[in-house]
């Protein structure tokens, strides 16, 4: 399966265009990095690819077909701020099992402990919460995962543990991974290829 963004462009309100005419392609089984400084529109691109937002220009296709607007979306996204991504009133177990029943092996690999599940989101740290969000996004219908600064808030050891687990699942299921980060060394270690976001925007601007 191939996820493609064709001629994407977006801006908020009447502000400046964040990007215009961006083309991007990602196949299942591929691990691609997207590197660029903060505030340059990487997150917006991720949100568009995952269907959280509709692009003002261009379209997103899956194998040439438009993405489904109903049902489980094959492109899932893990956000930078897990506190915003979970309902603060729900218990963790409910958050975790909103989309599917994650296998114990996945939970263990991500370092999720059984005792967290009965707590409320405010009682977990950002890193713990983020692992819940990752496990939640790895449902059986997921074909692509967009990781937007997914492990920025974690220390190096936990970062390594989480990425190890995610890469394992991605390899086993043949998921396509788009890793968005400003941390180039991390991308260099994880990804098969890295897209330089600034370079891409520049190029698209200057080509008519």
């Amino acid at each position: 399966m191939r996820l493609e963004g064709i001629g994407l462009g977006h801006r908020y309100g009447r502000g400046d265009w964040l990007f215009q005419g961006v083309n991007l392609s990602l196949a299942t089984g591929e691990i691609v990095g997207l590197a660029g400084p903060s505030g340059s529109g990487k997150t917006t691109l991720g949100r568009i690819l995952a269907g959280h937002e509709r692009p003002l220009l261009g379209r997103v296709t899956l194998d040439g077909q438009p993405c489904p607007s109903k049902g489980y979306h094959p492109v899932q996204m893990v956000l930078q701020h897990p506190e915003l991504a979970v309902n603060p009133r729900w218990r963790i177990r409910r958050v975790l099992e909103e989309s599917w029943q994650p296998e114990p092996a996945v939970l263990e690999a991500l370092g999720i402990e059984e005792q967290w599940l009965e707590r409320k989101p405010v009682e977990l740290s950002g890193g713990e919460l983020q692992r819940i969000c990752i496990a939640r996004a790895l449902g059986p219908g997921t074909r692509f995962l967009i990781a937007d600064e997914m492990t920025t808030m974690l220390d190096a050891i936990t970062q390594a543990q989480v990425w190890h687990a995610v890469l394992e699942v991605a390899r086993a299921r043949g998921l396509g991974l788009l890793v968005i980060s400003h941390d180039r060394p991390l991308l260099g270690r994880l990804c098969q290829r890295v897209i330089d976001w600034e370079e891409q925007i520049q190029r698209e601007y200057h080509s008519p």
Partner: protein, 287 residues
């Protein structure tokens, strides 16, 4: 309150707990008093409402706390019966209005742009006309009497709460976790039921309690104007209306006691609602 505490004072340990306790105490106290009024109103039988000409125009005394009127009826019994009626009408009006507000608020927030525009228009329409005018119109159209009042109150008190609920629901609809839920394939209805509704419940409860005083005051106002009930029914508005004619003869107790009772009940409901709101709102829970 906060400003009066000198900097460095230990307010984290004592203050919030004490205020929280006092808030709980006020909630319990007001609820108890309202319950007492309700029970007294229910316990007083119709016998004490009969006219006793030999006891006409008596000033307040230990046997007739609120005095008697020009027909010798005990004013305490009439006042309590009137309050009971007010609370009943208020209860029904507030329940119906809250349900309407919830339905409209949720529909506006989840039903799409066109539905939202229509409901917002409806809210503006109702809010742009004074409550009492719509209330009288609806009460008149629906046949007057107690039924007219109840329908009128139910249909006129929902807009402001509906607006609040709509705004809250809209905010939740924009939340990231709702976007994610949508991408998990959850339906609009599922999201409204599981994500939005639980967030609205505190607002709903406080809104419900704060509707009470409005409904009660409007019930009193409309019966005062003589639009609702027949004159021999004990309603606070009717009592006040009748007493107007006797005030100049020096029978002050006819208006003072029922009036004060009405104000007390209204304030009790208001306080209950406000304190409960403070307790339930996480941002204000520690004030």
């Amino acid at each position: 309150m906060r400003r009066s505490i000198p900097p460095g004072a230990d307010r984290s340990r004592n203050r919030p707990l004490n205020l929280r306790r006092s808030t709980l105490l006020i909630i319990a106290g007001t609820a108890l008093m309202l319950l007492a009024i309700l029970i007294i109103g229910l316990l007083i039988d119709e016998q004490s409402l009969v006219t006793q000409p030999q006891l006409r125009n008596q000033a307040p005394s230990p046997s007739h706390w609120f005095g008697t009127d020009w027909l010798g009826r005990d004013m305490f019994a009439r006042t309590m019966k009137g309050l009971l009626l007010s609370i009943r009408v208020g209860l029904f009006g507030a329940v119906a209005s809250t349900l309407l507000a919830l339905t409209f608020g949720l529909l506006a927030a989840t039903g799409g742009k066109r539905v939202d525009r229509f409901i917002s228009w409806l809210i503006d329409l109702f809010l742009s006309v004074p409550h009492l005018v719509t209330l009288i119109m609806i009460a008149y159209i629906s046949g007057g009497g107690l039924r007219g009042i109840v329908i009128g109150i139910a249909l006129t008190h929902w807009p402001s709460l509906a607006r609040v609920l709509r705004a809250e629901a809209m905010q939740i609809r924009q939340a990231e976790y709702v976007r994610i839920s949508e991408r998990f394939g959850k339906s609009r209805f599922w999201i409204a039921r599981h994500h939005v509704l639980p967030h609205l419940l505190p607002q709903l409860m406080v809104g419900f309690l704060l509707l009470f005083p409005h409904a009660i005051l409007h019930e009193a106002a409309i019966t005062f104007l003589g639009l609702g009930l027949s004159p021999h029914q004990p309603a606070i508005g009717i009592i006040l209306n009748e007493s107007m004619r006797y005030l100049s003869t020096g029978m002050w107790w006819l208006a003072i006691f029922p009036g004060i009772s009405l104000i007390i009940v209204v304030r009790l409901f208001g306080m209950l609602g406000e304190r409960l709101g403070m307790l339930l709102d996480p941002r204000r829970a520690h004030e």
